[in-house]
């Protein structure tokens, strides 16, 4: 659905996007993670046919983003939520959506139905005749999402959809994106919010001018380090360590009476480890499993690039 091959964008001597390659399937939610200035918005703008690429290729639903005729077709099937919502403060919520509905070539009936549907869904129907200038940031963000959906696009580009929102508004927006995911919309999500990315995205790309890593949240987490098992003992002794060494474990560290052991398969290996400790006369106080997080993966790849 969204394909990029060595996609590159330069601004003079500065390379904002460097040989970016990825493939997003129809109905997939792709999270694009990266620090400020990584080139995420530039990438989104290229894919939404707002700015041109310098090199490489990008296709949306088979249409070439650099072809002028194709770019109009792409813009018809794409909905965009930019970082700055860019609504008209002097128009009402209804008129804002109606204006965009017309530009997206929706029929009058479709416009009326979609405006009512999305405004009701996002809790803004009662405010439809209110000037947008009086709206809170959260309300504007919701309205901008409704605008991105007004023409029922197949693909959505969302740039930091929950940035600067209070927790309640963030949750509303996040839940709404999850509903869109159920409708099998293809979503390209720029975000800093790792928890959000983990909860919403099927696939994540960690990006800092170059694509550092790509995969499912679980794959990325797994790529950081193996699982660790932490075992708190009443008293550590050599006999216990010897028993553990006989198990040919990868990496065993001790911290006072605490054991930190790398394990490949915690469900299978942990009972064997505990059995060996008990067999060596040890007293186990607790066993904890420590798994890498998306944040660990993000930091590893982003710092690795510096």
């Amino acid at each position: 659905m969204i394909d990029a091959e060595n996609l590159t964008r330069k601004f003079g001597d500065l390379t904002a996007v460097d040989k970016l390659t990825f493939h997003i399937k129809e109905g997939e939610v792709f999270g694009f993670l990266g620090p400020n200035g990584a080139g995420k918005t530039t990438t989104m703008r290229i894919l939404a046919c707002l700015i041109s690429k310098t090199n490489g290729e990008a296709r949306i639903a088979g249409y070439d983003v650099s072809d002028e005729a194709d770019s109009l077709k792409i813009r018809k099937i794409v909905g965009l939520l930019p970082e700055n919502v860019g609504l008209y403060d002097d128009l009402t919520a209804y008129k804002n959506l109606d204006f965009y509905g017309k530009l997206y070539e929706c029929s009058e009936t479709q416009r009326k139905e979609n405006i009512e549907h999305f405004l009701r869904l996002l809790g803004l129907w009662d405010k439809r005749e209110v000037l947008v200038g009086t709206f809170s940031k959260g309300m504007k963000q919701k309205l901008a999402i409704a605008r991105a959906l007004i023409h029922d696009p197949e693909i959505l580009f969302l740039d930091e959809p929950t940035a600067n929102l209070d927790p309640e508004s963030s949750k509303t927006v996040r839940d709404f994106i999850l509903d869109l995911k159920k409708e099998k919309k293809t979503i390209f999500l720029n975000t800093h919010n790792l928890d959000e990315a983990h909860r919403i995205c099927d696939k994540i790309g960690i990006f800092n001018t170059k694509l550092m890593a790509i995969g499912s949240p679980e794959e990325l987490e797994g790529s950081v380090w193996s699982n660790k098992t932490i075992i708190q003992l009443e008293q550590m002794n050599d006999k216990i360590l010897k028993a553990l060494n006989d198990l040919s474990l990868n990496n065993i560290r001790t911290d006072n009476n605490k054991l930190i052991i790398d394990v490949m398969n915690p469900e299978k290996e942990n009972p064997i480890i505990v059995e060996a400790i008990v067999g060596a006369g040890g007293h186990v106080q607790y066993v904890t499993r420590l798994s890498p997080t998306l944040e660990d993966a993000y930091l590893k790849f982003v710092r690795g690039n510096k």
């Binding site: 700015i51 700055n84 008209y88 204006f99 017309k102 530009l103 997206y104 000037l131």
Partner: protein, 243 residues
């Protein structure tokens, strides 16, 4: 090019203009003052001895004033129309719609051109009626309408308005507030004032030949500015180079 899309953009701007009192006042007050104020000045001229020549000269010079007015008024509206989008950061979602750059630019041109022309025509009608009323007894015939004012209103005024809008597009790509854009735009009508002073001082007269020359010059500048503004008003330029 789908002209209806340009019209949708223009009507959206009309709705915004109606909400902005400052734009409304700027659009209406100056032409209104001119349409009433200039005939009052002329009425004082009728008091002097043998005033016919002076009155005719002044009526011609004041008629020319509408070319300047078209420039000023269009500049104000175009600054709001284009810079307003820039300030409200609404250009990005607008450019994301399946609308071509030409449709957008044309829509912005209509949004600035039509209200300005409408107000100027209304103002000029008041000006002509009042001027005729105060000069009829002195010069013995109705001075307006005449070929010169028709030439001015139907050719020079639209060309002046278009010139102003093209300049506003170019200025909008480099500034971030409406006042600066208006001030820069104001500087650019100094050549018009020069011509106006030549008319008032009778160095040149407002005959059809001179008006034709003025219109040709305006048309040529319009043509050059059209290509420059079209090159500037491209989505890639707007989102990456507009300051």
């Amino acid at each position: 090019m789908k002209l209806w899309k340009s019209w949708v953009i223009a009507t959206k701007d009309f709705s915004i203009f109606r909400k902005k009192k400052r734009i409304l006042y700027t659009l209406i007050i100056l032409p209104l003052l001119i349409s009433i104020g200039l005939p009052i000045i002329i009425s004082f001229m009728t008091q002097i001895d043998n005033p016919t020549t002076e009155i005719i000269s002044l009526l011609n010079a004041f008629s020319y004033f509408y070319i300047i007015l078209a420039f000023i008024q269009s500049s104000t509206l175009a600054s709001y129309s284009i810079l307003g989008e820039k300030i409200e950061q609404s250009l990005e979602p607008l450019l994301a719609t399946p609308t071509t750059d030409s449709e957008l630019l044309f829509g912005k041109t209509i949004a600035s051109f039509l209200p300005c022309i409408g107000v100027i025509y209304a103002s000029s009608i008041i000006f002509m009626i009042l001027s005729d009323a105060v000069t009829y007894n002195t010069i013995g015939y109705l001075f307006f309408p005449n070929l010169s004012i028709a030439f001015i209103l139907l050719l020079a005024v639209p060309l002046s308005s278009i010139l102003s809008i093209q300049l506003s597009v170019i200025i909008s790509s480099r500034v971030n507030d409406v006042r600066t854009a208006n001030q820069l735009g104001s500087l650019l009508f100094i050549p018009f004032i020069g011509v106006y002073l030549l008319l008032v001082t009778n160095v040149i007269s407002l005959n059809i030949i001179n008006l034709f020359v003025i219109s040709i010059v305006l048309f040529l500048i319009d043509a050059v500015l059209f290509y420059i503004s079209k090159a500037i008003f491209r989505r890639d330029e707007i989102l990456t180079k507009w300051k």
